[in-house]
Symmetry: C2
Subunit: 212 residues, 2 copies
DNA sequence: GTCTATATGCCGATAGAC
DNA sequence: GTCTATCGGCATATAGAC
């Protein structure tokens, strides 16, 4: 109950937030790899540079910490879709969306993995957001895509499946990075490989829906 | 150590195998949803219709059970890729591969999810297979695809990225089925939705790599 | 092979001094 | 706010009778 409003710049509240953020960052790392049951609070505390007792001072329970982390990453995950714009031409908008999602896979792989983990379990925590926010957001963007198809600007494609394909193809490089690295020897951290990935994914998807 | 050779049809060994299989099937269900740490042996035992103690008679430890389950599902996961054949024309072979993988997502979603879970953790158990079997298997199939590109039978595409895209797009429907269902209201169990998914995924990927 | 206890260790959470 | 010490519960695994 210390800071209900996240951005009040009170001198003390700042330090508290900093510590909370450090703990949440550490928690994201371990949660995303081992899941909530596989991670020990001790481990999170050590990674964050605090004691286990101290961690429990800032977050009343392990589950509370998990929820806090989940809330944070949902925004990261949704940002690219929110940025999807009708104003551009279809192929530009979709190409841009693919690039943004691949940047998330590169810059926030742990968030992507935790999101995936939660999904595998049936999204017990995110179900409300999935059937509310996300569903309507997807409906919006699907309508845009359907509009393009109707106007003859895009090959006939089911908007939902197209969105699924983009999600799948882009997240794969974060969620299955172990496999990607085992097969290619590269990760998205490698600048050249990142560019090559963007080009290939963009080309495959866009050529697949280009009008002709 | 009861049955080193899995398929000896001795009368008793048969019953033992049946029980072991029941336990492994139950374990797959819970492991794939909650992970190894999130599942309780009691839960697995109940689902399999045996007592917890009895379960530990057949599998010496939780980890041993987990390893046994993982070994089993790797074959399921790899089967479609092994079936990928050079003899067909490129677009037929790839279309067929996509259908096979989507059938796995429909018929063995739990196996797909457990595989995904293991990958998220960095594949501690599968690393050997990933850098051995899988890597060389992918190298083989990549060579076939590269050959098609060189012969002018396929648009220039990086074989690895193409394989990743197929993996991602098809597994998505199993691993993220919660999300798919939240957005569309359907699952692959729905015959019509399955067909629609096969068609859309095949079309998008194939149109993206068709020569023109 | 299957059961009823029971041992054992770990880990989340609390108490209470400072 | 941070520490040391410790509790209490739970879940894996074992002992031993049948």
């Amino acid at each position: 109950m210390t800071d209900q409003a996240p951005k009040k710049p009170g001198k003390r509240t700042q330090a508290v937030s900093a510590k909370k953020n450090a703990i949440m960052a550490a928690a994201l790392t371990t949660f995303s790899q081992f899941g909530i049951h596989g991670t020990r609070l001790e481990q999170v505390a050590e990674l964050a540079g605090v004691s286990k007792t101290n961690l429990l001072y800032y977050f009343p329970s392990k589950e509370a910490l998990y929820v806090a982390v989940m809330r944070n990453i949902l925004d990261i995950w949704l940002a690219p879709l929110r940025a999807f714009r009708q104003e551009f031409t279809p192929l530009v908008a979709i190409g841009e969306y693919i690039r943004l999602k691949l940047e998330v896979s590169r810059d926030h792989p742990e968030a992507s993995r935790l999101f995936c983990l939660e999904m595998l379990q049936g999204a017990p925590l995110l179900m409300a957001e999935l059937t509310g926010d996300l569903k309507s957001l997807v409906a919006d963007k699907s309508a845009i895509i359907s509009g393009w198809v109707a106007e003859g600007k895009l090959a006939p494609v089911d908007p939902n499946h197209l969105i699924f394909m983009i999600w799948a193809a882009t997240q794969h490089y974060a969620d299955f990075s172990t496999q990607v690295e085992a097969v290619t020897g590269k990760t998205l951290q490698d600048e050249a490989f990142f560019q090559q990935t963007v080009d290939n994914v963009q080309r495959m998807i866009i050529e697949g829906i280009r009008l002709r």
